[in-house]
């Protein structure tokens, strides 16, 4: 036993000394670090800055709108995908499954971020003392309404996250009609709040929201309210009014650039289809860069759109012209073709086309949709037009017809919710 104690004592003393030395050496090593690459939520409270969060969320809507212009345009055949990436091509031929990653990348994700972002702003600013006339709140309401409306036009169903307290939780499945009702609510609030505010932007929000409201009613099938809302918009909005996505040529901020230009002319990803080239309409400008111009996929010839000629070309979201189209279609569907015929006549002049002579409602609708397809080419309108009017929509290939070589068009008429959402928010497949 004595030996044991002697050994232990002999061992312990230097061990304690050495451990102490090591501890002293390293005790000074604090683990505090700074990571300026990150914006730590503990260091920043965006809710305290209304303009910042509202304008930031607006940019999320702008981004989503441009994504819908591109991907929705591919789905509705406004242009063809010349990308080597197969997922894009599959969206372009309407033959894909919910696992296609580009559904989320190009459509659902951007729209969801726009909806959640603007809903967060609405949540943060609604309780403010000046909420009734807060331009930042009005802006968010309008952008939220547009975003939800686009989700309803694009997807077979939708979902909107619920912002409750500090937590954001996934919402239930919503039918397109439910989505459109929600959109109508937010457009109405935007009109009300911006109407109580003053200044040029307030006027712009009121005008854009009125047009958006009319379009939403039309999309819902509520033609009477659509006609009324469109008439109200036309009555109060300047004939030259447009609400655009402002874009930038800043190389450091390419997400703020015109995405259609970016994916067509510099990168030959998207090309103009034969159908649209054959229209020979100045509202559908395109060019052939030459015999060697091939799209990225090596298959399609790179016919380039000429509507957006630079990174800084604006993209139209809403306009007086759109209100006229809404009114014309709503009236046509309530047995008054006069507005449609008048608009068709005016737009055919703009397109250099001869006078339209059709008299049947179906023919007038088809022609109206044809004019709409030309006027709003690559403006995220055609998919909604198609969803609303089905077979009457022109310039769409039949299922089974050839798409880019050996591939064929599928049967989808709306975009399924991506698995990225359904795997984590079990709202199920579309009914």
């Amino acid at each position: 036993m004595t030996n044991i104690f002697r050994t232990a004592r002999g061992t312990l003393r230097p061990a304690v000394l050495a451990l102490g030395a090591a501890g002293l050496m390293l005790a000074a090593c604090k683990l505090d670090v700074t990571n300026p690459t990150l914006i730590d939520a503990n260091q920043f409270n965006p809710a305290g800055d209304g303009p910042l969060i509202s304008l930031s969320a607006q940019t999320q809507f702008y981004s989503a709108f441009q994504s819908v212009v591109r991907y929705g345009g591919l789905f509705a055949e406004e242009h063809l995908s010349g990308a080597a990436r197969t997922e894009v091509a599959d969206i372009g031929r309407r033959n894909f499954f919910s696992a296609n990653q580009d559904i989320n990348f190009g459509l659902f994700g951007p729209l969801s971020r726009a909806i959640a972002g603007n809903k967060n702003v609405v949540k943060a600013l609604s309780a403010g003392a000046s909420a009734a006339s807060d331009i930042n709140l009005a802006r968010a309401e309008m952008n939220l309404a547009f975003s939800i409306e686009l989700m309803a036009e694009t997807f077979c169903q939708g979902t909107i996250a619920d912002v409750s307290g500090a937590q954001t939780v996934a919402g239930p499945a919503l039918t397109p009609v439910q989505l459109l009702d929600s959109s109508i609510t937010h457009f109405t609030r935007a009109i009300s709040i911006a109407g109580a505010a003053t200044g040029a932007e307030a006027t712009k929000i009121v005008s854009a929201a009125k047009i958006g409201l009319a379009r939403t009613y039309l999309q819902k099938g509520d033609n009477a309210n659509a006609a009324t809302a469109a008439a109200a918009a036309i009555a109060s909005v300047s004939s030259s009014f447009t609400f655009n996505v402002p874009t930038s040529d800043d190389a450091a901020n390419r997400p703020l650039a015109n995405q259609i230009y970016s994916t067509s002319i510099p990168t030959n990803l998207d090309v103009v289809s034969a159908t649209y080239r054959a229209l020979n309409d100045p509202r559908v400008p395109w060019k052939d860069p030459g015999p060697a111009a091939v799209a990225q996929d090596g298959v399609l010839h790179d016919y380039q759109q000429q509507k957006y000629l630079s990174y800084s070309s604006p993209v139209r979201i809403a306009s007086f012209l759109e209100a006229q189209y809404v009114q014309a279609e709503a009236k046509l569907k309530t047995a008054d073709p006069s507005f449609a015929l008048a608009l068709i006549a005016a737009r055919r002049v703009a397109g250099g086309q001869p006078v339209f002579t059709g008299t049947l409602t179906s023919a007038i609708l088809t022609e109206l949709l044809s004019q709409s397809a030309r006027d709003f080419w690559l403006e995220a309108k055609k998919l909604g037009d198609w969803r609303r009017n089905g077979a009457a929509e022109p310039y769409l290939s039949a299922p089974g017809s050839i798409y880019k070589g050996a591939l064929t068009f599928g049967t989808l008429t709306s975009v399924p919710i991506p698995t990225e959402e359904t795997n984590t928010n079990p709202i199920g497949a579309c009914p």
């Binding site: 050495a18 659902f108 971020r113 091939v294």
Partner: protein, 1046 residues
Amino acid sequence: MITIRRNPRALVVLTTLACAPALASAQQSAFSSSESRDLGAPPAGVIMARDAVVTTTAAVADGVVTGKVTDAKSGEPISSVTVTVQGTQLGAVSGNDGTYRLARVPAGPHTLTARRVGYAALSRRITIPDGSTVTLDFPLQPSATNLESVVVTGTAGDQLRETQPAVVSAVDVSDLLKETSVTNVTDVLRGRVPSLQVVSGSGMTGSTARINIRGAVSYSLSNDPIVFIDGIRMRSSQRDLQYVGGQAVNALNDLNPDDIESVEVVKGPAAATLYGADASAGVIQIITKKGKLGLKRLNQSITTEYNTIKPNFTPTTNYAKCTAASILPTSSSAFCSGQALGTIVSDNPNVRGGTYSDGDLRSLRYNAQGGGDNYGFFVSGSADDEQGTTRNNSLVRRDGRASLNWVATPNLGVDFSLGLSKNDYKLPNNDQGNYGSLIYAALGSVTGVTRDASGKLSSGFAAGINVDAISSILNQNNTIRTTPSMQLHYTPFAWLANRVTVGADMNNSEGTNFFPVNPFNWYSGDQANGFVDVIRENANIYTVDYLGTIRTSLFGRANTTSDLSFGSQFIRTTFEQVEGTGIGLLTNSANLVSSASKVTGAQVYTDQKSLGYFAQEQVGFSDKLYFQLGARLDRNSAFGTTSSSIFLPKVGASYVISREPFLSKYSSFLPTLRLRAAYGSTGRSPTPGASLRTYAKAPYITDLGIIVNGVAPRNPGNVNLKPERGTEFEGGFDAGLFHDRVGVEVTYYKKTTSDLLVVNPLPPSLGFTGSPLVNIGKVENHGLEFVVRARPLDRPNFSWDANFIASTLNNKVLSLGSSKEVVTTSLGNVSNKVTVGRALGAWFTRRIQSYDPATGVVVVGDTSEFVGNVLPTLQGSFSSTFTVFKNISVYALFQGQRGAKAFNVGPFYRDQFLGNSPEVILPAGQGGYNARDRALRLGPFKTLSGGTIGGTQGADGYVQSTDYIRFQELALTLSLPNRLAQAVRATNASLTLGARNLNLWTRFQGPDPDVNVLNTSNGGIAQFLQAELFTAPPSRRFIARFNLQF
């Protein structure tokens, strides 16, 4: 032969402890069985011998020990044997003639030990009188088991291998380079360590490789092991300063293999516990060459090497059928105009343009080792110029290393080391990247090839580019790497050793991506009118490490030993990148970022610290039974300073059962047998800030086009985040057979990663751009490792050494919290998934069920099913060295794997989307698919439930087996006759002729299964995307190396 000179005052004490039974009989005449306890226990497991020759001089207190180390069997001198004096910092290394010299050995009793890989260690105990010169020779017995060698990795301090419960694999690089065709560090590891898998990025010079040890332990984090150089943590992750497809620069290969003495590999938590919460994927320790104490002369080595690098593949040819428009006389189609409709034409833009050609390596290396009585030094310098197989692929490396080890007093030693290297890489765009030569050739149109007025054909590449355009793109990565370190050894008492290690690995890199201004409209977008992007990066890792070891006997019994080790380790990793981008240049000479019309900038900075305390107690009984108990307490800044510490325990036992008397009768057949078992745990930490709730910078734009900084929700974070926790059990045995001429090592391992860090994908509808990490799930790897090292033939003029290594792997996701499948990534209809019950990243697609020859319809599954693993379930290698007349050696290494699959995306894409593969265009029997194969790939497809699906759903046939056997290395080394060497005043001269990647036998239908489309060593599902996607395969090398030693 021993000569004794005795001074009248000299006192000789010869003591011998118990011998290893295996060698007792062999050395019966030399050893006695007497035992001395008063001098303390000898190093465990070594053979104690007597016989020393002592000469003393009265005036000097310290003594000198000299002697010669020889092969006990052949009597030949052995070089590079380390002779140490136990309980001091004194040591020496034998020279080419086997002699060594130890000076300043304090008078008194000492135990000296001689060790070298390939031989059983031998310890001899002597007492040195004042001022004596003692001659002590060491005849070493060859041994294939290496149990008495010292390991420094995975344990506290230097420990004998036989005391370690877990396996630590070692590669003697110094010896390897003498006889093989190894050219870089990853070559050193490939095929030489069981369960270590090296996957090449591509055949491009300088491109990174991915290393997995014992499978994959993480999905979100990198599965690459952490790397240390002489105890200093080094940066081993890839450097991807510029995006060039699926490639990046390999930071591990910055090192010159000629500077490396050995590499030790710790494979999993059972052995890596002391490396803390970042080591669950294993640890690689690189031990560099040092000076040789007591050498008393300068050993110099000059090596010059030349490699020819062959691309080793033929790029694919495009096929097409002439269309109605292209056959018209007015058509611009060079191949189709005037041809009949449907004429099959072909073009190979890469072959026609000469994209790939032979490259070469020119290398000159010098090193010198020397030392005096109390110091040693090593200096080296090398220059490598390598031209890859494309014009814009090269590596220029300048490397220097210096180390000084100084024994200030017998109980105080200091090692200084400084490594400097400058590595300038150029990599071409590759894989799926823009302007990659293979993909842009595949995308080219055969019928679109035109002929100009001079008769010259257009390039055939897509987007109007050509080889000049591709080759003119500069992706340059220049790095200056500085690795200073200092290690202080202090042994105030024979039983107490202290070691402090301080060092850094500082990487200053500059990456440049340059698209020249050109009149040919080669490039589009931001690159159209001249583009330059420069990234400056400082990536530094600092290590401070303390280790104390108390060695003593327990309970007053000399045969019961205690090794108590304790220490702490602090590692800080800082990373900073500053990037400038210039778009639109006037001239190619004015190519600064600031010369551009549009200039942007970006900056990234991260900082991570980890602090750990560890302790380990090892108790040994009678030099044959060892128990080890240890633990580490870790904290890491990735989780915030308020997070709790992580406790990582380890326990194990090693039993050299062959030393038991009851096995002595088998000593000729089984001289060595050790049983071992170990259990340990480690962790793996995420990147800094992973637990934080964050916002992302999201600039907004006003109606006036003004851009203002804004924010968007980025990641909700996870305040409960913890590191992944790896636990491992391993057990096995080491055996020496037939007089230790055959060494066998068998290990079973089972390691489990719990608290698996998985990106918890949030519903996109929540609006976050990122998803938080959560600790859910568990993944398991288990398998068997089998190593045989043998010298089946050993004749005076002929010997044969053979190594066989095999390992199995069963990787399986055991749980994923409440989910069964949380993450997928897909190419077409083929996905890598993390799914319960399957291996990480397993392949899933619609499996082909049947083919009806009558209708041509192929039936596939209704849903994606498991079709294969990414990681091989069996790996193996066989190497063999024949030595003839002691001066000619022939080395060969074969390596193989089975049980994994890769997605052969190139043919899939060419068949399904481009329709330009020979198999699709050519008729059956002339290179085209037969009816069945065509249907299996192109359809028509129906699902089992009768649904019709598109052609691209038929991808099952493209997920192909990567089983292969590769003739990896062949080398013939000729040691030139001494008279030739002496003609240039050299002591030795050798010539090595070799080759790498000589042949490949595989069922994979792409150029090579050993590529990885996104060859990332970073984390995430991309590391499992084992796919060939327009990637240049590993090259073939022919090597000539000439070495002179002075």
